[in-house]
Symmetry: C4
């Protein structure tokens, strides 16, 4: 009895190393296979929505879908078995996403309604975020994330200002333009204001009256100046962090001539030739 339990424990241990570890060969291989299957499953859902492809290859898509679902199901069960705190995993973000990845196919046996199914299947796409955690990419994106986090607060205040501006501009345009030129309600006007301020400019709604076009011109020129703000915030943050990592600093000081600005790796003072402290 103990033997069987220890065998099961060994199996659990091995599974955990393969599923969660990235240092062993099998662990790395598994990560790559999983990565490929996630991308494939995303591609399958995409293809499924293209009418031409769906008509021609319906059976092939369905078979692929079932194979992937079975693989993901086994992976999900193994994860639950091998982890220390299975309950915590199941209700974590990735636990729910992993369940989302397998549920749709089993649900499709009972519910033939395609639209609801598609919504659940699309949620599977969030597994893509797992790929973001590949170490190589993570390492390079640290500086990116730091600069964005440092400027997060200012950007939020800025977005708050843009949203209030959009509400007021959208309402004014609704009053000025009226229903004939697409501004059917104030929310529609706000949608137009955001489309314009962000310089996207679909053109599905656009001012038709001279006054409306004049106001729109003012909004666009305002948006022109405004778009500089988030860029300025992020850039200043990048420049700061990249100057910090720059090789000049005032950390070292020459004991003879007291000059203070040196290369970080300088051994001698550039001014008097004196040996610098480490």
């Amino acid at each position: 009895m103990t033997k069987i339990k220890s065998k099961y424990d060994l199996f659990r241990q091995k599974t955990q190393i393969i599923l969660y570890g990235t240092n062993t060969f099998l662990g790395r291989m598994f990560d790559l296979v999983l990565l490929g299957l996630i991308l494939l499953s995303v591609l399958l859902v995409m293809m499924d929505t293209v009418e031409g492809i769906n008509h021609k290859y319906h059976t092939q898509l369905l078979i692929c879908e079932w194979i992937i679902t079975v693989f993901f199901t086994i992976e999900f069960i193994l994860r639950i078995i091998s982890i220390q705190k299975p309950i915590k995993y199941i209700f974590s973000f990735y636990g729910i996403i992993d369940l989302m990845a397998i549920l749709p196919m089993y649900l499709s046996i009972f519910f033939p309604a395609t639209n609801v199914l598609t919504i659940v299947r699309v949620l599977r796409f969030f597994r893509l975020f797992k790929i973001l955690h590949i170490p190589q990419i993570s390492q390079q994106s640290i500086q990116l994330r730091e600069a964005m986090e440092a400027s997060k607060e200012k950007i939020l205040v800025f977005i708050y200002f843009v949203v209030i501006s959009a509400i007021i501009i959208g309402s004014l345009m609704y009053v000025v333009e009226g229903k004939e030129s697409g501004f059917t309600s104030i929310p529609m006007g706000i949608y137009w204001a955001i489309v314009t301020l962000t310089t996207v400019g679909y053109g599905d709604i656009s001012p038709a009256s001279p006054l409306g076009q004049f106001l729109a011109s003012l909004v666009m020129i305002m948006g022109y100046g405004i778009i500089a703000v988030p860029t300025g915030i992020v850039t200043a943050e990048f420049a700061k962090s990249s100057l910090k990592s720059n090789s000049i600093s005032t950390k070292k000081k020459c004991s003879k001539c007291h000059s203070q600005v040196h290369f970080d790796n300088a051994k001698y003072c550039y001014e008097c030739g004196e040996t610098l402290p480490d």
Copy 2:
């Protein structure tokens, strides 16, 4: 008689603390309720313009509208009563806006014309600016405002240059394209030029002749280089203020000459030579 007056004075005093103060519990609560009601009233005006919602919930919207109007009316009267200089308040920006927030409903009893009414009701949205004065957001937005104010003059000169360019480009395009492709007048051409230079690009008017498309291409590439300018101005300002806060600060203050801006590692005042505190 004096007793009644003092009671009234006490009431005025209490009201003032609640309406204008933010330090007491009641004052803070009142601010939150007011914030919620302003957002609700804005939402109500929005919903009112959506045809589907208006048809279904006309009575409910009207009732909500009246409740809010009554609350705003009481608030407006209390503000006039409790403030020291009521005349100054009534003719101030927020005084007029606060009046705007309650007028439309009372006017709607006498004037059934919906369009004029909507214009006045939308003016109520400017109360949203009051929300901008919430201390937490104000604190964070100081650096934003400073950087924008420092670059204001340069951005104005830049906008002035863009407007003159838009006038000349718009006129040329009117001559080149003519009335068939939407360039019905020079103001229309200028509207197109602004839509293009700001990279909004609705597509409601777009060049159709080969020469017009060639000129438009030149304008777009020009606009490509031009959009960099406001960004450059604002970014340089941000970078400057964030570099300044790096090695220079106002932490140290000279006790002799009261100069406040020093290097962080300064030991002596650069102005008078006095020893600085650590």
Copy 3:
């Protein structure tokens, strides 16, 4: 005879001071009047192209037009008379523009063809550039111009790269998309590529085939990275010039402790309290 000549000389001298000078009261007044009349004449040409206004106020517009033309004619003649080298002025940029401003009305007596006339009248708009030379604005725009001139060469190389990219992308899209979806020729494809790379995006031509939309997506993401380049160039230039004008430099050096980085207006060394040289 000499008397008359000297009277004429005096008249010339006085005229010159008024027309070209900006220091006397009359000179400044004349500049303001001219500025107003140029703006008015531009407004008149604009109004003239708007059909509704033209129909209603045709006679009034014509009268205003003639009054301005007569004023500009007198100004032009006085300029030729009062200047030292009249030939040089006539064939200079502003000389030709000034002539352009008065010619259309006189030509309209002989040629009733409106289209040719409008072209010449629009050229008058270049007089607006004269307004750019108002001293107040010029002073503020110097830094702007310097930063743009410093980054001119790099932006030209960048535009050159964008144009070649647009040619290759436009040709590929012409081959991929074909005539059905608006890509009627390679120049049309290049026009589309520029509209897309600059993120203007009119939507008058847009890819319809899956392959075309895939290529377009690549182009847009490429353009996303590319738009950062001119901004980066200009911003770096602004930051450089604004750091230069910053108040810290290595110009002053303490004779006692040899520390080198000081405020430009520092009188004492922040390190040792020694008096600094000017």
Copy 4:
């Protein structure tokens, strides 16, 4: 026999100097002629696709096309003859491009199918990249290329993030909007997401339902903040390289340890303490 061979060798040598060299007068002249002919051939292919021009000048275009093809053929043969390693050249990027430039006309004798031909002819445009190697432009573009290469990795991570975002946003919009408003499949939704995130905004597909427009507004505001990131990266890189070239340079070189990067005002090598030249 040896004489003939040496004559052939002399011819090869001379040809090589003209074709590959840029220091002799003939070499430079040849480069200019080649440049002109490449531009002309590109122009010819363009003109050929414009229906109006093709109809009118079909024969003239064909003659020009043949003249250029014959010139390019002779050039191609001479290049193969004169170069040391002809096989390496033929299979190099420029070798294949050079062959592409002449093949279409010879193929047109046997295959009259115009569409396939156009594709091959357009590939000739890649010869334009050769123009990029003109020394004057190359010199100015070095700093540009360096800054872009330095920020390449970060921009790739950023684009990777944008693509994953586009996939998830596009899928959600497909589910929300459905087929009526143009979101016919998930790939179509992704195409829309890229068009929106990059602020191009064609408007060929745009959300029509209130929920879709609300989601689109969120995406646009998100894209607003996102567009700042590549700009920030490139700008920080430019600013860094331009600050570096300010006070630090490679003008001085240590004669002892051969380190090259020093402060402009350095007197001693920071690495080994050796005296530096002025």
